[in-house]
C-alpha cells in the first residue's frame, strides 16, 4: 500500500517549489522504481522511466487535481512510459526451462540474497513468467498480482473498463500457470 504524501507538499509543488518537489521525489521514487522495474525488467531502464516520469510530473503538476490520489497519477505516467518501452523493445528469453526452474527455486527459497542478486533473479523470474504475455496483459498482471492494486485503481491508471481488465487478467493468469507447470513449480 502506498502511503500518500501530505496535501501541503502537493500544493507547494503546484507552485513550483523545488524543495517540496524533492520531498515528493524522495517519498515516491521507490514505489515508482518498483513498478517500473517489474514492468521493464531492467535496472537502468527502470531508473530512466522514473526520472522521465518525475520530469513530466514537474511540468504538469499545476494541472493535477488535488482531490485525486497522487500515487494513481504517478503510476499512470510510469505505466504509460513502460508500455511504450515494452512495445518498442522485443523481449527475449535466452534461458532454458531448467535454468529458469533452478533460478526461480533458489530465488523463492533463499531469504538473504544480496542486493544485485535479488534484482538479477527477479528479472529472470518475472521474465520467465510474463515473457509470453502481451504488453497489456503483462501490465495488468503486474499491477494486480505483483503491485496488489485494486481493479478500480487499475481501471483508472489504464483508462480501461473493469471487464477488459478481468479478461486480460484471465489470459495472463492462464499463461503464467502454464509457465509454472512447465517449470514443475505447481
Amino acid at each position: 500500500m502506498v502511503q500518500q504524501i501530505s496535501r501541503e507538499i502537493i500544493s507547494r509543488c503546484k507552485l513550483k517549489d523545488l524543495v517540496a518537489f524533492q520531498k515528493l521525489v524522495e517519498h515516491y521514487q521507490s514505489f515508482a522504481y518498483t513498478l517500473a522495474f517489474r514492468l521493464v525488467c531492467n535496472d537502468d531502464d527502470a531508473k530512466d522511466v522514473v526520472q522521465e516520469s518525475f520530469i513530466r510530473i514537474w511540468k504538469h503538476i499545476p494541472e493535477f487535481d488535488s482531490n485525486n490520489q497522487f500515487s494513481t497519477w504517478l503510476f499512470k505516467i510510469v505505466t504509460n512510459l513502460c508500455y511504450d518501452h515494452l512495445k518498442s523493445k522485443k523481449r527475449r528469453n535466452s534461458l532454458s526451462i531448467d535454468d529458469l526452474k533452478s533460478t526461480a527455486f533458489n530465488f523463492l527459497s533463499d531469504k538473504d540474497l544480496e542486493e544485485n542478486f535479488v534484482n538479477q533473479n527477479l528479472i529472470q523470474v518475472i521474465e520467465s513468467l510474463a515473457n509470453q504475455l502481451t504488453p497489456k496483459q503483462r501490465i495488468v498482471f503486474i499491477l494486480r498480482d505483483l503491485q496488489d492494486l485494486e481493479t478500480d485503481e487499475i481501471a483508472d491508471i489504464l483508462n480501461m473498463d473493469a471487464g477488459k481488465i478481468k479478461s486480460n487478467l484471465y489470459y495472463a493468469r492462464q499463461n503464467i500457470r502454464m509457465q509454472l507447470e512447465k517449470m514443475n513449480l505447481i
Binding site: V25, S30, Y33, V50, I55, E115, R173, E181
Partner: protein
C-alpha cells in the same frame, strides 16, 4: 454450466465472485475432479506470485536517483522555453497525442485519395476535349455546331439576365471558352449554380464570367 465456464470463475476468484457464482462453483468443485485440480494449482501459483511480490527490487543508491531527477529539473528550468516555444510545444504534444494520430492519418489519406481522384477525372476530361479540339479550327467548329451555339447563346443570355448585377473578371480566352462550352460541357459548368459544387469547374470560371466571355465571343 460446463467446466470451461467454471474455469473463468476459478482464474478470477481473487477478484471476488457474486454469491450465486461462488455457490455454483463450490457445488461444481465437489463433483468435478479436473476443476478441483485447477483450483488447487491456481492457489499454488497464487502462493508463488505472493512470494515474488514480497521480493521487491532494491533501488541501489536512491539519493543518486533523486539528485539526477532534481538536476534534470533545474536544467529544464534554466532552459525554460518562452511563450511562443511553449505554445508550439503544447501544440506538438497535442498533435502527436496517440488519440489524434489515427484521425489525422485518416483525414490525410482521405484528402490525398480525393485529390488524386479529382485530378485523374479532370485530366481525362481535358485530354478528351483537347483531342477533339485538335481536329477543328474554332471557326470550323462553330460553323459545324451552329445549333449548339444557338442553344448556348439562349441559355447564356437567360442566365446573364438573371445575374446582371454580378461583377465580372475573366481569365479564359473567349474562343477557348467557346470551344470548351460547345462540347456539351455547359451543363457541367453551370452545376454550381444549382448548388452542386464542383471544385475544378469553379476554379475555371464563375457563371457571370462565363456569360461575359461567351457574349464577347459571339459579337
Amino acid at each position: 454450466m460446463n467446466c470451461n465456464q467454471f474455469e473463468k470463475y476459478i482464474f478470477l476468484k481473487k477478484e471476488g465472485l457474486s454469491q450465486d457464482k461462488q455457490s455454483l462453483l463450490e457445488t461444481h468443485i465437489l463433483s468435478c475432479n479436473s476443476c478441483k485440480k485447477l483450483l488447487d494449482s491456481i492457489e499454488k501459483s497464487g502462493n508463488i506470485i505472493n512470494q515474488i511480490r514480497q521480493k521487491e527490487p532494491i533501488l541501489a543508491n536512491p539519493g543518486l536517483l533523486t539528485e539526477n531527477i532534481i538536476r534534470s529539473i533545474k536544467q529544464l528550468e534554466t532552459t525554460k522555453p518562452g511563450l511562443f516555444e511553449n505554445l508550439i510545444e503544447r501544440f506538438l504534444n497535442w498533435f502527436f497525442a496517440p488519440f489524434v494520430r489515427p484521425v489525422l492519418v485518416s483525414v490525410a489519406v482521405f484528402m490525398i485519395s480525393w485529390f488524386l481522384y479529382q485530378e485523374t477525372q479532370d485530366q481525362m476530361q481535358i485530354a478528351g476535349l483537347e483531342n477533339q479540339l485538335k481536329k477543328y479550327s474554332v471557326n470550323e467548329y462553330v460553323a459545324a455546331h451552329e445549333s449548339q451555339k444557338n442553344y448556348i447563346i439562349n441559355k447564356a443570355a437567360k442566365i446573364y439576365n438573371e445575374n446582371n448585377s454580378k461583377g465580372e473578371v475573366g481569365y479564359l480566352k473567349p474562343d477557348y471558352h467557346l470551344r470548351f462550352s460547345s462540347f456539351g460541357q455547359i451543363d457541367k459548368l453551370y452545376n454550381f449554380r444549382n448548388h452542386k459544387f464542383n471544385f475544378r469547374n469553379f476554379k475555371k470560371l464563375t457563371p457571370s464570367v462565363h456569360l461575359k466571355l461567351f457574349s464577347d465571343s459571339t459579337k
